[in-house]
């Protein structure tokens, strides 16, 4: 081999070897990254796990639809605000992620929303505390789920109407911003209707044993036990309430159910006759929902639950907005989201520009008897649905 052929061969080999890197660089430049900060360990790990699956579904769907690379990055918040903030900080600074969809708990979501605003990122969540799109709203934060005000109004008003003799109510409340929001909204509705809140038991976010609170509740002889906690704690409360025979003695209402996964964990026999407020239910008659059910069954072989569906739609909204904006620049994505009207999982949904709250339906479900279930996921029927929202001014939101 002469010198010329050696040099040309070497250059050719070098170029060949460099090509994947060049392709990778070009690919990376077009890569749309979405951070998914959800609890993948701890008490709400199941919710986080499904949220991660929903986000992945949205990313794969978008990649196929738009012909570009979209990648989700799971950030385990452990359900702790401090951990959540640290993970989001790292993702913004180190990984240059500018779009986030996640947050199961209100406390972590409030903290992450503020961090995203500070770090120049966008955040969308399903967490419920009114403050998220209320007094603590900010330009970086959006919310898909109905906040606690709407959840209470849509879950307990129909029951009050249906059960005129149910005068005495007792609440069990987790002592943090989400629980306080639900409790405040419940107190307002009960007062307006002239009903008695005969007692409330607060508990910590780490509580597993509810027998003491339940015996307190039974001592007050309420007509309705209103459960205001979420996820695994809600399942524990229900399981123990049923073992104390409370289902036979009063109406039990869960204001904010975590959906199909909760029914699966509890089983039909335990849930029968109990009312559940829900952000999402897989049988909702909406084209986008039918599409999600089909997608989820094709990829995972399961029916979508609330955690999966909420995360799917949040991630999808972020990706679609970035595509519309032609960039993942948070300001441009924000502009694309504000005022957006779209076909969502609950039918027509709109993102209110004044406070970044999605206007959507909330559902009241009643659990069926096992014998009445048409299929393995047919745990409940939708009793009612509707929308209750404070205006942005009433909620106290002033976007900067």
């Amino acid at each position: 081999m002469n010198r010329r052929s050696f040099l040309s061969s070497t250059a050719g080999a070098g170029a060949l070897l460099a090509t994947p890197a060049l392709i990778r660089a070009a690919y990376a430049a077009d890569l749309l990254k979405v951070g998914i900060p959800v609890p993948i360990s701890g008490a709400n790990a199941a919710n986080g796990k499904y949220a991660s699956m929903g986000a992945l579904l949205a990313a794969e769907e978008a990649a196929a639809k738009y012909g570009r690379a979209v990648q989700t990055f799971d950030l385990d918040t452990e359900g702790k605000p401090a951990t959540a903030v640290r993970k989001v900080q790292d993702a913004i600074d180190r990984d240059q992620i500018k779009l986030f969809a996640g947050g199961i708990l209100s406390s972590e979501s409030l903290a992450m929303g503020k961090e995203c605003e500070k770090g120049g990122a966008n955040f969308i969540t399903t967490a419920g505390a009114d403050e998220i799109t209320g007094t603590d709203c900010n330009k970086a934060t959006f919310r898909w789920s109905v906040p606690t005000f709407g959840a209470i109004n849509q879950s307990i008003r129909p029951i009050i109407d249906a059960l005129p003799n149910a005068k005495r109510w007792y609440t069990i409340t987790p002592q943090y911003v989400f629980g306080e929001g639900l409790l405040k909204a419940a107190q307002d509705v009960l007062t307006e209707k002239g009903l008695d809140l005969v007692g409330n038991s607060y508990h910590s976010l780490t509580e597993k044993e509810f027998s003491g609170y339940l015996t307190n509740a039974m001592a007050e002889r309420p007509d309705v036990l209103l459960i205001l906690n979420f996820g695994a704690q809600c399942a524990d409360t229900l399981r123990q309430a049923v073992s104390f025979g409370m289902k036979e003695r009063m109406t039990i209402v869960v204001a904010w159910a975590s959906g199909l996964e909760q029914f699966e964990a509890l089983g039909a026999d335990l849930c029968e006759g109990i009312y559940f407020g829900a952000q999402y239910w897989h049988t909702v008659d909406a084209a986008q929902n039918a599409e999600l059910v089909k997608l989820t069954q094709a990829k995972y072989g399961i029916t979508p639950n609330y955690s999966l569906a909420g995360s799917y739609i949040c991630t999808k909204l972020m990706i679609d907005a970035a595509q519309t904006a032609g960039s993942d620049d948070p300001a441009a994505v924000r502009a694309a989201l504000e005022g957006l009207a779209y076909q969502g999982l609950t039918g027509d949904e709109t993102i209110r520009a004044a406070d970044h709250q999605v206007m959507k339906n909330y559902y009241l479900l009643k659990a069926r008897a096992k014998a009445d279930m048409a299929d393995k996921d047919d745990y409940a029927e939708i009793i009612s649905s509707g929308q209750s929202f404070l205006s942005a001014e009433e909620a106290g939101c002033k976007l900067g």
């Binding site: 790990a45 039974m218 399942a235 399981r239 699966e264």
Partner: protein
Amino acid sequence: MLNGIGLGMLYFLLAVGLTIIFGLLQFVNFAHGAFYLLGAYLTYDFVERGMNFWLAMVLAAVIVAVVAGVVEAVLLRRIYKLPHTFHILVTVGIALFIQELVIILWGPLGGSVAAPSVLNGVVMVGDFIYPKYRLFMIGFTAVLAIGLYWALERTRLGAIVRAGSESSENMALLGYDTLRINTLVFAAGAGLAGLAGALVAPIRGVEPFMGIEALSIAFVVVVIGGMGSYVGALVAGILVGVVQSLMATIWPEGARLMIYLGMAAVIVLLPRGLYGRA
């Protein structure tokens, strides 16, 4: 008060295996919660497959004991002589392994275990209402506590085990296989954790992170009662249960906090716990 005692017996059940292992082997077992988790999930699985609850409960406890015995024989006996920090490191690793295995096998969602039909429902005496299953658990745990005490204090096997904890060299000189005794004790302690998981499953259901919570409560009980003290675990379990139950009435939001405050107070005032060894 009854609710507090019921809760206390549950806590005793969580802690008794831990305290026996520490008392007799001087071994800090952070995998205790994971054995509890495994017992609960095995029971759940067996019942889901249609097995009778009582059989499922016994089978789950036995399987956990066998698994723990194998782990002890293969791994843990090699680290007994090392400082407690090594015990913690290895057993935390085992706990995480079991927890992940549970998630892989049964998924991240929890599940419910139906109580046996004979114990469904509640007992009502005037205004007093209490679940039958919880009453059964109080009685069962009380019988178990007496039986264990008798076995440890009044039987030849118990005497051998206790002697082994004092001086394994002397026991070896007398011809006893101390390695086998250690394995037996560890398996029995873990089996009790598995039994606790099986018994608690109808009350609290199963979920993959239940072992962590159980471990923290078990340690609180063992620390208050005195590390390694059997009677201490019983007294502390009931004490913690009653305090938590009463606090749920007086100051609900502080009910759980009081457990840990109580433990802190005991550490400060009685560093060896209520019945700790000198």
